[in-house]
C-alpha cells in the first residue's frame, strides 16, 4: 500500500472515529442530588428538566449554592461548624470561622445510550482499494456513557465550591477528566461597599460563562458552535491559512473570573483571565510547569480574556413579582416571562513555533507566529410560561500569519499577514415543557467556517481537491435536531434526539469522479440518565 492510500485510510479512519465521537459522547450534564439531601427537596426545586435550571435554580447558583434568603432555615442537616461564629470577632487573632455541610455533599451520575445511524454511514469506505479493511460504523450500537462524581456547596461565609469529575467514560475506567473545579468568593462587593452581589471572584478550572452552558446542557448533543475550533492549513486550494487554534468556547479555562449581578434578573457580567490553551489536547512535554514538573495547559506565556454581559428583563406586570426570584402565577410560582439579551467576547493569542533560519538565511532558529484571535457573539433568550426560545450567534476571527522564505534562504525567515481565518454561526432552539415531565426540543445549528472550506470541505466539480474528505458538502453546516425528553422521576431522564446531519459527499480522490452524491448520515440517539 503506497503512502497516498495509507494517508487516505488514516484520514478515513480518523473521520469515521470523529463521527462516532461526535455521535457517541454527549456533553456532560450535572444536577446536584447532594442539594436534595441537604435541603430535603426535590430536583425540580431548581431544575425544570435537569440539568436545565429554572429561575429558582439560577438564584440558588448565584447565591453560592444556597437559598437566596434564610438558607439556614431550610437545612435538614445542621452544618458542622469550623469555629464558633463568635470567633469572627477575634479575627485576625484566630482563624475565621466557617462551616462544612453536615452530610457529605456528593452526587453521582450515570448515563447510557443507544444510537442508530443512517444507511450511508459507511460510504467513505468506497474510496478504499478493493480488499482494504475500512472503518466500520455499525448501524446500531449500545454505548455506556459517563460515570461522574460531583460535589458542590458553600462554606457558610459566602465561599462556595464546585468539583466534578468523570470517573469513567464510555466504559473505560479512569478515562474521564476533571470538569469544573473551582472556589468562588460570592459577594466580595460587601467588603468594598459596592452594591450587593456586584462582584464575585472565582478561581480554578471552570467553563467560561457561556450564554448557555455546554458542560451542563440538557441536550443529548452539544451546540456545534461552542465546539468549533479554527484550524486552517495551506493546501493550495484557496486562501492559504496557517492557523492552528484548537481552542473552543466549550473548553474549560484555568484562571480567575470576576462576575456580578444575577442571571435570573437584571444585569450579569463576567470577566475571566485564564491560561491560553489552543492545543485542544492534553498538555504536551514542552509544557512542563516549574513545580515538580507538573504539566500545565498553556501554549505560551499569555493569558486569554473572556467577557460576558447580559441583561434580563423580567416582564411581569406586578413589580413585586417581577423583582422576586420566581413569578407569582395564579396557579403557583413559576419562571418569569423574560427577555434576556447578551453578548460575549473572547480574546486570545495562539503561538506556533516553527523551525526556520535567521535573517542571514542560514543560521537555524525557532520562529514563532503569534496570532491574535477573537470570538464575538450575541445571544437572546425569551421565556413565556413553558415556552423557551433562545439562540446564539458567534463570529470568530483568527489572525493569519503565513510563513515566508526570503529569496535564497535555506528555510522560513518570517511571517506575512494573510486573510484571516474566520468562522461564524450559532444555533436557535425552542424548548417547550408540555408537561412538568416532558419537554419537546426543536433545534437548529449552523457553522460556517473558512477553515473548513479550505480543508477540502467545499467540493468544486471543476477543480476537485487532490484527496478525499469526510466532512460536510458545504462550508456551511446546518443541523436540525428535534428531540423529546421525559423525566421518569425527577432524577431519571429518558431522552431521544434525531440528528439531521449536514450533507456529505464521496468522490474518487484520484480522478475527482463523484462516487456518491450529497448524502446525510442522520442519527437517532436514545439516552437514559440518572443522578443520585
Amino acid at each position: 500500500m503506497n503512502g497516498k492510500w495509507l494517508s487516505l485510510l488514516s484520514a478515513s479512519m480518523f473521520a469515521g472515529l470523529s463521527v462516532l465521537a461526535v455521535l457517541s459522547v454527549p456533553p456532560k450534564a450535572d444536577a446536584i442530588p447532594a442539594f436534595s439531601r441537604k435541603y430535603g427537596t426535590s430536583c425540580s426545586t431548581c431544575h425544570s428538566d435537569f440539568p436545565k435550571l429554572n429561575d429558582f435554580g439560577k438564584a440558588f447558583k448565584d447565591a453560592g449554592f444556597k437559598f437566596p434568603k434564610d438558607d439556614e432555615s431550610f437545612l435538614k442537616t445542621p452544618p458542622v461548624l469550623l469555629g464558633a461564629p463568635a470567633q469572627a470577632e477575634l479575627w485576625p487573632h484566630t482563624i475565621y470561622p466557617g462551616s462544612i455541610p453536615g452530610t457529605l455533599p456528593v452526587g453521582l451520575r450515570y448515563n447510557t445510550y443507544y444510537q442508530q445511524i443512517g444507511a450511508n454511514r459507511n460510504n467513505f469506505n468506497q474510496v478504499l482499494p478493493a480488499g482494504t479493511i475500512g472503518n466500520f460504523v455499525p448501524k446500531s450500537d449500545f454505548q455506556p456513557g459517563f460515570f461522574s462524581i460531583f460535589t458542590a456547596g458553600n462554606f457558610g461565609t459566602g465561599i462556595s465550591w464546585w468539583v466534578d469529575d468523570d470517573i469513567s467514560v464510555a466504559g473505560a475506567n479512569a478515562n474521564g477528566a476533571l470538569g469544573d473545579g473551582y472556589l468562588k468568593f460570592n459577594d466580595v462587593s460587601r467588603f468594598l461597599k459596592l452594591p450587593k452581589d456586584s462582584l464575585n471572584l472565582r478561581a480554578g478550572q471552570f467553563e467560561l460563562d457561556l450564554p448557555f452552558s455546554q458542560a451542563r446542557t440538557w441536550n443529548l448533543s452539544g451546540w456545534d458552535i461552542f465546539s468549533e475550533a479554527n484550524v486552517g492549513i495551506q493546501n493550495g486550494l484557496g486562501p492559504a491559512q496557517n492557523v492552528s487554534n484548537g481552542s473552543k468556547l466549550e473548553d474549560a479555562a484555568n484562571g480567575v473570573e470576576f462576575s456580578g449581578g444575577h442571571i435570573y434578573q437584571g444585569y450579569h457580567y463576567s470577566v475571566a483571565v485564564f491560561d491560553q490553551n489552543t492545543t485542544g489536547v492534553a498538555p504536551t512535554a514542552p509544557n512542563i510547569g516549574p513545580q515538580n514538573g507538573v504539566s500545565f495547559n498553556s501554549d505560551a506565556n499569555f493569558k486569554d480574556l473572556y467577557g460576558r454581559l447580559v441583561y434580563r428583563f423580567n416582564l411581569e406586570k406586578d413589580p413585586a413579582s417581577r423583582n422576586d426570584v420566581q413569578a407569582a402565577g395564579t396557579m403557583g410560582p413559576r419562571d418569569h416571562t423574560y427577555l434576556a439579551l447578551g453578548t460575549i467576547y473572547f480574546y486570545g493569542r495562539t503561538a506556533q513555533p516553527v523551525s526556520g533560519v535567521q535573517a542571514d538565511g542560514v543560521t537555524p532558529t525557532v520562529l514563532t507566529a503569534r496570532e491574535p484571535f477573537y470570538r464575538v457573539g450575541g445571544d437572546v433568550n425569551f421565556n413565556y410560561r413553558n415556552l423557551n426560545v433562545f439562540g446564539v450567534y458567534v463570529a470568530a476571527h483568527d489572525h493569519n500569519l503565513l510563513p515566508v522564505t526570503a529569496p535564497g534562504a535555506a528555510g522560513i525567515t518570517g511571517f506575512a499577514s494573510a486573510p484571516a481565518a474566520t468562522f461564524s454561526g450559532g444555533f436557535a432552539e425552542v424548548d417547550y415543557l408540555a408537561l412538568p415531565w416532558a419537554m419537546t426540543i426543536m433545534r437548529w445549528d449552523q457553522v460556517k467556517s473558512s477553515a473548513d472550506r479550505i480543508n477540502f470541505i467545499q467540493y468544486n466539480p471543476s477543480a476537485p481537491p487532490g484527496s478525499s474528505f469526510f466532512s460536510p458538502y458545504s462550508a456551511t453546516r446546518n443541523r436540525f435536531t428535534p428531540g423529546e425528553q421525559f423525566l421518569i422521576h425527577a432524577n431519571i431522564k429518558a431522552s431521544v434526539e434525531y440528528q439531521i446531519m449536514p450533507q456529505q459527499i464521496v468522490y474518487n480522490p484520484a480522478t475527482g469522479e463523484i462516487i456518491t452524491g450529497p448524502f446525510r448520515t442522520n442519527a437517532l440517539i436514545l439516552g437514559l440518565e440518572w443522578v443520585y
Partner: protein, 193 residues
C-alpha cells in the same frame, strides 16, 4: 319553693346531659404513627361551623403540621413562613377531582384561607416543591381525634348513640366501623396498606 324546683330541674337536666355524653376511645393498629378517627355524619343532625380558624404553616419546605383535622365548615389559614415562594393546592377531596382547588401564590408572612365545606381527605401539595405534603381530614362532625404515635385516641363528649366511626391513616385504607357509644366506649381499628 318554686325557685327550688326550677334549680332541681336544671340540675337534673345537666346531669342527664352529662350522663348521655360518652367517650369513644381505642387504638388504631396495623400502621405506625399518627392516625385520625372521626365520627361520620349523623343523619338529620347538623353542626355549626367552628368560629376558630386553623393555621397550617409552610416552613422549611414543609407543611406544619403534617396532619390536621378540621370540622366540616371550618376555615383553614395557610401561612407561608418561608422566604421562598410556595403555593397550596389539592387535586381532589377523597378522590373527587371536582373538589380540587389551587390557592395560587403568596409571599412570606402572608396567609390565604379556605373554608372546607366538603368532608373528606384533602391531600395538600405545593406545585414548586413536590416533596411537600400534608393532609387535612375534614370531619363531618365535631367528634374526631388524632391518635398519638402509639395509635391511642380518645374522643370526648360524644352523645350516646349509634354511629359510624372511621379511621384514616396516610397511605392506608380507611376503615369504618359501627360503634354504639354509651358512656365510656372502646373501639379499636386495624388498618392495612
Amino acid at each position: 319553693m318554686k325557685r327550688i324546683a326550677l334549680v332541681a330541674i336544671a340540675v337534673m337536666l345537666a346531669l342527664g346531659t352529662a350522663a348521655f355524653a360518652g367517650t369513644l376511645h381505642g387504638k388504631v393498629s396495623g400502621v405506625n404513627g399518627e392516625s385520625v378517627v372521626y365520627i361520620e355524619a349523623v343523619a338529620g343532625k347538623t353542626f355549626p361551623a367552628p368560629a376558630q380558624h386553623i393555621t397550617i404553616d409552610q416552613k422549611g419546605l414543609m407543611f406544619v403540621p403534617h396532619i390536621t383535622v378540621a370540622q366540616q365548615g371550618a376555615t383553614v389559614e395557610f401561612l407561608n413562613s418561608d422566604s421562598v415562594a410556595h403555593n397550596v393546592f389539592w387535586p381532589a377531596i377523597s378522590g373527587n377531582k371536582k373538589l380540587g382547588h389551587n390557592l395560587g401564590t403568596w409571599p412570606q408572612g402572608q396567609r390565604k384561607s379556605f373554608k372546607f365545606d366538603d368532608p373528606g381527605v384533602v391531600s395538600l401539595l405545593c406545585n414548586v416543591h413536590p416533596e411537600m405534603s400534608a393532609y387535612v381530614i375534614v370531619s363531618p362532625t365535631p367528634y374526631f381525634a388524632v391518635t398519638d404515635k402509639a395509635g391511642e385516641f380518645k374522643i370526648d363528649n360524644v352523645p350516646d348513640g349509634a354511629y359510624t366511626a372511621t379511621a384514616w391513616h396516610e397511605g392506608a385504607k380507611n376503615k369504618s366501623n359501627p360503634v354504639k357509644v354509651a358512656g365510656d366506649t372502646a373501639a379499636d381499628f386495624t388498618l392495612s396498606k
